[in-house]
């Protein structure tokens, strides 16, 4: 009963007092009736009726003592009690207690009395029962005790209870001689409890079933479901009468959507209105105005003629519809006709998932198709005599046509059926969750694959598909030969097929002409079809060709379009190892673009590929085949691992330990794909952790020393990605990985390797211990030489590494000595954003050394930095502003220099409008430095720095707070800026900063407050904001700066108070 009451019964949401009320709905009515019947039947006769409740059921009743006249009841004061008393503690089994005049509370302790009370109540028994249930939300607890409380999870209390009883019975049997009567009576009672409980459970179940039936028959509308329906119809509307079911459909009224998803005005929401919709059908002149209410859709009277913006909410007729479509169907015959057509186009949807995938490609395909056709025509004209070929082409065009996705599939009308079904199933369990789930399921295709794949999705996707035009002119002889062979592939038995396959392989399949020729004569289809056959040899032959030609991007797409990936994924499960290898290798080639990778994943390919990795003996000679299989598996995974979701799928399939095992291999051609996969995956934090914990860093470091440059490159780039984490950096050092990294810097020819190695150095240099080792290895000199004539990928990393290394003061000097300053400053003129971020950072670090600053100044580096503040990228802006800070600090005549930048001060002040926290913090820091010079301070004050800073004071970001407070304290030193800050309400928020946990924030804030407190008005504001207490604490701080500023501030406040008092008494 508990479950049913909690879930099914509809409680009003308004909580008055202890709990909600039961709503007056038909479901509740039925529930109550069922319970009533239960009480009446069990309460009359059986033993359960006399079982005493653990705690009595209590509720306020409308009955009064007069009702309880007659035998069995007696008066005691204000109360009426029953003669029968509880056997345990002698309390009466029924008690009517007077609370106030005409207000009574009834307590009952057995079902029997419950039945009696209800009988006495007569026709008011429903009211009584309602009151009882409202006061006792979980009556089972009262009746049988806490252990039977309704819980959300699986309830096994009853089983435990049974066990307990049987145990006791056993015990009793054992000690039969000594057993006392009371003991068996207890068991007896327990048995009754059990029986009652079971009955209640049955009742519960009945109630649940009943209410489910009820509910599913009248499901209420929710904002989300309305939204869904409207969006679908919107997609189907337009002016075209043949294709679109509606002319237009939209929400009426304001576009405001309230938090619960309703669009109706709040006062209308009280009536259950969700939103208003206006619809224009093709066959009616005036739009229909529809109200979406929680009870369903119905028509309203449209806009009120008197008040143009308001709707006339009254209903012209009382028909309510369950869904929008049926309402529209009833109101517009044209719509009904059209929507039925739409529904029919949809029925194919589920059986053709492939089409769905194709749809994304529709446009592309069509384009492709056009070119294709024109090309075909050309060739046909040229070779009219070759009838056979012509036929082929016809075949091909036909098969192409099949691929063309229907444009109509998107049109979801039939979904309504689905939704309704779903409604039923979902309401049964979780009514609340329904809207969300339904919404998700409604647009399966769009949502299923949000294109959120990682950035590693390279631009190759966009790489143009067609580069064929020029090939039209003269077809090479290979074309005809290949065509002939493909003919045998099509028209021969296996023997002929094999011969043809072998001969095909004699062509130079790496030539684009051959690859495309195979595609153009329809060979791809045949090859892919061959994969579906049972003939192992044919499959091997076909895969060998596919493997070669899939190196071509266009072929890859074609293979994916023809469903080749699905078949190859299937082959991965084959027992033949050659087949597995070839399939995996082909997948590795094909899966170089996103859609293919997704297909592989969706068909369970990742799991199978991962299982290929599992080979028992790695370095044993007799396991060559297995090792080969694993290698191909790794190769395929490498390709697949460029998608974020695939990485996740691989992890779930348990790839990490297998990769770790393979990493111990000694074969280079095995290691390359394995490390390649790892470095792709290392962009995911979960993989980085696993790589570290599985002990792969050691192997990676080991392989850095390999002689194969490609392997070295992948290892370095894996370390590059993994070294984001401190533990990994330490491990790299411990395994001696820094030395080989530095030696890799001598490989000037291989740029990719260089980029990976410098990247690894950059990331490793984040740890100070590593910096030390790099110093010993004289990495700086080498890095500085790499500053010239390198591609940007390398430069970004080199400069990043220098920036990290320059955190240690001796290295700054070293950079200067190696002549690194000038190339660094030169790089400030670049355009690559990532590079600029790193360069500015490196220059900034170098500028902290006064000697370096002289050089930077000479090279006009500060001006360059300043100009980078104009960059669009906030990261560049921020790091440029950070870099400017040490420059101003360390430059001679900094003030003069800053003034010399035309418009520079205005620029930096204007950056305070940025949205980026980092930019704001850095600019504040820069302003704090600029403001040291009085003249500059005057200029920036003129540019309105004070109100802008004041506006920022409400931030909660500690870094920004710190620099902001610093800037404010510096800016106080000019004119009436102190008063201005007070006027702009900057003071009170500053006081809040003292509650921050950051010591640095405290220091700068105290300084700012000290400056501000020189103005009496501000003192008053501060005092009101409760500044004294935290400042007192800070006076006791370890930090002298903080102490002094805090004390100064308190002093100022105190002085003001004294002056005030003096003024009063004077």
């Amino acid at each position: 009963m508990g479950q049913a009451l909690q879930r099914a019964a509809q409680w009003t949401s308004a909580k008055d007092g202890a709990g909600g009320k039961l709503e007056f709905t038909s479901i509740n009515e039925d529930l109550l009736n069922a319970i009533l019947k239960f009480v009446e039947t069990t309460g009359k006769s059986t033993e359960e009726a006399s079982l005493t409740f653990k705690t009595p059921l209590k509720w306020q009743t409308s009955l009064n003592p007069q009702h309880f006249q007659g035998s069995g009841f007696s008066d005691s004061g204000d109360d009426v009690i029953s003669d029968n008393k509880s056997s345990k503690d002698d309390t009466p089994l029924l008690k009517l207690h007077k609370l106030a005049k005409d207000k009574y509370e009834v307590n009952i302790s057995t079902l029997g009395y419950a039945e009696q009370v209800l009988r006495i109540a007569g026709d008011k028994k429903m009211v009584e029962l309602r009151g009882c249930l409202e006061a006792n939300r979980d009556p089972v607890v009262n009746m049988l005790g806490e252990r039977f409380a309704t819980v959300e999870t699986d309830d096994n209390s009853i089983f435990r209870y049974i066990e307990e009883i049987t145990k006791e019975i056993e015990q009793n049997a054992k000690q039969e001689q000594t057993a006392e009567g009371s003991k068996s009576a207890e068991v007896e009672e327990k048995k009754i409890v059990l029986r009652l409980r079971l009955k209640l459970l049955r009742l519960d179940e009945q109630l649940m079933n009943m209410s489910i039936q009820k509910m599913s028959s009248e499901v209420r509308l929710s904002p989300a479901s309305v939204d869904g329906e409207v969006t679908i119809l919107k997609q189907l509307s337009g002016s075209d009468e043949t294709k679109c079911v509606l002319e237009y459909i939209d929400y009426y009224g304001e576009t405001f959507v309230s938090k619960n998803g309703c669009r109706a005005q709040p006062w209308r929401q009280l009536h259950g209105d969700i939103c208003y919709i206006y619809v224009k059908t093709h066959d009616k002149d005036t739009p229909l105005y529809i109200t979406a209410n929680t009870s369903g859709y119905y028509l309203n009277n449209g806009p009120d003629p008197e008040k143009p913006t308001q709707l006339d909410y009254t209903r012209p007729d009382s028909t309510t519809y369950r869904d929008l479509v049926s309402l529209l169907k009833d109101n517009s015959s044209k719509f009904a006709e059209l929507i039925d057509q739409q529904e029919f186009t949809l029925k194919v949807e589920q059986n053709d998932k492939k089409k769905i995938e194709m749809s994304e490609q529709t446009e592309q395909n069509e384009d492709y198709q056009k070119k294709k056709n024109s090309y075909e025509q050309n060739t046909r004209n040229e070779n009219d005599q070759d009838s056979d070929k012509d036929k082929n082409q016809k075949n091909r065009t036909q098969s192409k046509k099949k691929l063309e996705p229907s444009l109509k599939w998107k049109v979801l009308g039939v979904d309504d059926n689905k939704i309704q079904e779903e409604d039923k199933s979902i309401t049964k369990t979780e009514k609340k969750k329904r809207p969300v789930q339904k919404y998700k399921s409604k647009t399966p295709i769009d949502k299923e694959e949000p294109f959120s794949e990682s950035e590693t999705e390279s631009e190759e996707e966009e790489e143009a598909v067609e580069r064929r035009a020029e090939a039209n002119a003269d077809l090479p002889s290979e074309y005809w030969q290949i065509q002939k062979l493909v003919k045998y592939l099509k028209g021969g038995n296996q023997t002929a097929t094999i011969i043809a396959l072998c001969s095909l392989r004699d062509f130079n399949l790496s030539l684009e002409t051959c690859q495309l020729a195979i595609r153009d004569v329809g060979g791809l289809e045949v090859l892919i079809n061959l994969l579906d056959t049972e003939e192992v040899k044919c499959k091997i032959g076909a895969l060998k060709i596919l493997k070669e030609i899939s190196k071509n991007t266009q072929i890859r797409r074609a293979i994916a379009d023809l469903g080749g990936l699905q078949t190859m994924v299937k082959i991965l499960r084959d027992t033949n190892k050659d087949l597995k290898c070839l399939a995996a290798e082909t997948i590795a080639n094909v899966a170089k673009f996103r859609r293919a990778r997704r297909t592989v994943r969706q068909h369970g390919g990742i799991k199978r590929l991962v299982s290929l990795l599992d080979c028992a003996g790695l370095n044993k000679p007799d396991m060559e085949k297995d090792v080969e299989v694993a290698r191909c598996g790794a190769l395929a995974l490498w390709s697949c691992s460029k998608s974020k979701k695939n990485k996740e799928a691989m992890r779930k399939a348990g790839s990490i330990p297998l990769l770790a095992k393979l990493l111990k291999s000694t074969h280079e051609d095995m290691l390359i794909p394995v490390v390649g996969t790892l470095q792709e995956c290392a962009s995911e934090p979960s993989y980085r952790l696993a790589i570290r914990t599985e002990g792969m860093i050691e192997d990676l470091v080991q392989n850095l020393k390999s002689s194969n440059q490609e392997l070295q490159m992948h290892c370095a780039s894996a370390i590059f990605k993994c070294a984001e984490e401190k533990e990994t950096r330490d491990l790299v050092r411990q395994y001696g990985g820094l030395d080989p990294l530095v030696t890799l810097l001598t490989n000037i020819e291989n740029k990719e390797l260089l980029a990976a190695a410098t990247g690894a150095i950059w990331k490793c240099a984040i740890s100070p211990e590593n910096v030390q080792r790099f110093e010993e290895l004289k990495a700086i000199d080498q890095l500085v030489t790499l500053l010239n004539n390198q591609p940007e990928e390398v430069l970004v990393n080199v400069v990043g590494a220098l920036g990290e290394l320059a955190k240690a003061p001796p290295n700054r000097m070293q950079i200067r000595k190696a002549g690194g300053i000038s190339p660094l400053v030169n790089l400030l003129t670049g355009t690559n954003q990532a590079l600029l971020v790193n360069v500015t950072r490196a220059v900034g670090k170098c500028a902290e050394e006064p000697d370096n600053m002289i050089i930077i100044d000479k090279l006009d580096g500060v001006r360059l930095l300043w100009s980078l503040l104009k960059n669009q990228n906030p990261e560049v802006q921020a790091s440029a502003a950070w870099a400017i800070c040490p420059c101003i600090e360390n430059a001679k005549d900094a003030g003069e220099m800053v003034r010399s930048f035309v418009g520079g001060l205005e620029l930096i002040v204007s950056l305070l409008k940025s949205e980026d926290k980092e930019v704001l913090a850095s600019v504040c820091a820069a302003i704090a430095n600029i403001a040291k010079d009085e003249e500059n301070l005057a200029v920036i004050t003129d540019h309105g720095v004070v109100p802008m800073l004041a506006k920022l004071t409400n931030t909660t970001d500690d870094k920004l707070r710190r620099h902001l407070a610093e800037a404010i304290s510096r800016c106080c030193n000019w004119g009436n800026n102190r008063t201005a800050f007070g006027r702009e309400d900057a003071v009170a928020p500053l006081v809040k900063y003292l509650k921050s946990s950051d010591e640095n924030v405290h220091r700068s804030t105290a300084r700012a407050l000290f400056q501000l407190s020189k103005n009496p008005e501000n003192c008053i504001t501060m005092h009101e904001a409760g500044v004294v207490q935290p400042l007192m604490k800070m006076v006791g701080s370890q930090d002298e700066d903080l102490q002094e500023a805090a004390a100064g501030c308190i002093g100022n406040i105190r002085r003001l108070a004294l002056a005030n008092e003096r003024a009063k008494y004077a």
């Binding site: 099509k490 094999i498 072998c502 001969s503």
Partner: protein
């Protein structure tokens, strides 16, 4: 294994005979090894029947099947060559190839001479097999071709059990 092969042999011959005749052998090929081509079945029988008496002795049976089922590449090459070398002169000629490949081209375009397609195919096949360009394929040629491309072992007709067949 040999014992089980012999058992099978006895079972196939029946209780009284000591030799296996052609029809029975063909049955075995069809049911056990899925070799269904009439012409090739005869050839396989010939290859098994080393003493050319049109019956298989127990020894021939065991030898043949051991190559059939567990043969090394070299054995298989020899065996296949014998199967394909119709007249037994040590060379596979154009005509022999034509003969073997004739049933291979199933789909014929109506207007074309049916033999034309086969001839073309023979040329293609010969190009693959005839490594020394003398217009015919010797054992050495065949061996070389198979070594460069293992798929060519059965390049002129299906005469070996497929991988899925298990040893009885």
């Amino acid at each position: 294994e040999i014992a089980s092969l012999l058992n099978m042999f006895k079972h196939l011959c029946g209780p009284d005979k000591k030799k296996l005749d052609r029809p029975t052998f063909r049955d075995v090929l069809i049911t056990r090894f899925k070799i269904t081509d009439d012409f090739l079945m005869d050839r396989v029988f010939k290859a098994f029947d080393t003493d050319n008496d049109s019956y298989l002795k127990a020894e021939e049976w065991v030898r043949g099947l051991s190559i059939f089922l567990k043969g090394e590449v070299e054995d298989l090459i020899k065996y296949c060559f014998i199967v394909y070398d119709l007249n037994g002169d040590g060379y596979i000629s154009r005509e022999e190839m034509f003969h073997m490949l004739k049933p291979c081209v199933v789909k014929q375009s109506s207007e074309e001479d049916p033999d034309e397609g086969v001839k073309e195919l023979v040329e293609i096949a010969l190009k693959k097999f005839d490594l020394d360009h003398d217009g015919r394929c010797s054992v050495a040629d065949f061996r070389g071709a198979v070594h460069t491309e293992s798929l060519l072992l059965e390049g002129l007709g299906h005469c070996l059990p497929s991988d899925t067949v298990s040893i009885p």
